[in-house]
Symmetry: C2
Subunit: 324 residues, 2 copies
Amino acid sequence: MKLLDLYAKLKRDISYIEKELERSIDVEHPMLREASLHLLKAGGKRIRPVFVLLGAKFGIYDLERVKHVAVPLELIHMASLVHDDVIDDASTRRGQLTVRSKWDNRIAMYTGDYIFAKALNIVTKLPNPQIHQILSKTLVEMSIGEMEQIRFFFHTEQTVRDYLLRIRRKTALLIAISCQLGGLAAEAGENFCRQLYAFGYNVGMAFQVRDDLLDLCGTEKEIGKPPGSDIKQGNITIPVIFALQDEALRPKLLEEIVRIQATDGQTDISAFLQMIRTSDGIRCAEELASKYIDKAIRALDKLPDIQAKKDLISVAHFVGNRSY
Amino acid sequence: MKLLDLYAKLKRDISYIEKELERSIDVEHPMLREASLHLLKAGGKRIRPVFVLLGAKFGIYDLERVKHVAVPLELIHMASLVHDDVIDDASTRRGQLTVRSKWDNRIAMYTGDYIFAKALNIVTKLPNPQIHQILSKTLVEMSIGEMEQIRFFFHTEQTVRDYLLRIRRKTALLIAISCQLGGLAAEAGENFCRQLYAFGYNVGMAFQVRDDLLDLCGTEKEIGKPPGSDIKQGNITIPVIFALQDEALRPKLLEEIVRIQATDGQTDISAFLQMIRTSDGIRCAEELASKYIDKAIRALDKLPDIQAKKDLISVAHFVGNRSY
């Protein structure tokens, strides 16, 4: 099954969430509204709301309740992207100008703060304190992850574990709690929610590994920005860490990375990309992603065999093979 | 009574909150801890925790519960300061280097995000959903206020109302809910909490008006930064708005403001300061602050005559006359 088919089935509910997203940022303040809408309209796969909806299918599915989790989680993702673009000095995302390049870093910071606060405000509509505890704990982890990114820029001695810890905070936790909070908002049992969390966590890890692979192997058209953006800003991802473990390749690769750092990323990186693409780092990273997808699917074992379970498995396979 | 005497009475409880503040940001991440601690150690009057504690005296005072509001509100204030320093390009605050100048804007942004998330995480220890709703609504307003500041930079046509709306969001709301949530956390009745809110709101408005007066009339020693920092960054405050209403003064004042804007604040502003200090704008602003203090004290009328009420009145008088 294609992801689009799945989306087709959930289409009505996703359209509704999309409208609620727009409604949520419809603030009186002109610049905030414009910047937030710009961000929303830049698109995205809305994968977090999809996970919330599918998670909720394991409980008493009520869109009117579940939207109070689906909308905030997408908003939090959006807010973290605007702030990310500030560290990354990113000028485009998904082929569109970023808020910081269309306006400036300060506007990006405050747009992020606003969307973030809005997200929290919506989730308080649900009285279950567990939801707020889980969410706020994740936000703390995410903000530590943002800082970690800076610390590890151009850090060629970092381990696989450093990388995994970083993408856990940066990506996996938010996807994990999307599944879990979908379940919790629908009052699915504790056990179900725990399994949904484990599923989301592993899918999230695979998602980020594939994302990092794409940045190195994709074309500009596929990824909406020039390949190699990660290394240009100093972000050493898992295929590179694996490639650095190859004693024969390591010295040349280090030399290239030092050169890229010295130019602040303002240099031709085709030699670097060529080295990585032909290295074993790609295969190792692909294997790692597959391992996470397998773990994700196994995490669903004890959940009832309803349609949503099949859909989650489809999304997992899709993430495992994604090439956009 | 001096504010210090009041603090002396609450000393043990404030010291405890101070320790909890330190504990709350004791994260493993070295840079985050350093930046957060730097911020915490830079001091501040801890006026928000004081208001929380005094508000709680109107209910069942239990420091172990109330700390889950007192600590977050001070953290939120701190987080908003770090982000504020980014818009203000501020290099010092309270005579100390700001996070953005000691490190950089990105570190300041993420330190703010982290402290913010931590604050939310602590407040989720209290199950009362009303507390979360009030807090998150205030955060939305505050973030709109941050953006408004940018919009009104060097905007000489702004009205008194524009200014009041801005300081409401920037300062007064957080002080208002400090009093209110102190009450709510201690399960004081709805009526009490409403009156505490009204008190805090009016004190907060007066607090900001006095702060803006200080920036224009204080000495560098008194305010921990050179006087006139506001106008240098384009922040037109109430004494200036009032002074601009004087037809005789207006043309010269406008000329000065245009000149300051043209140099991006990098100019001698002593002529501007002299004009304002000898204008009627100072007296009008002082009267406005007094009016808010009177309203604040009247808001306490129906609260029981316990010691905390006398203390709140003392704080209000202190704020009304503050010269540091």
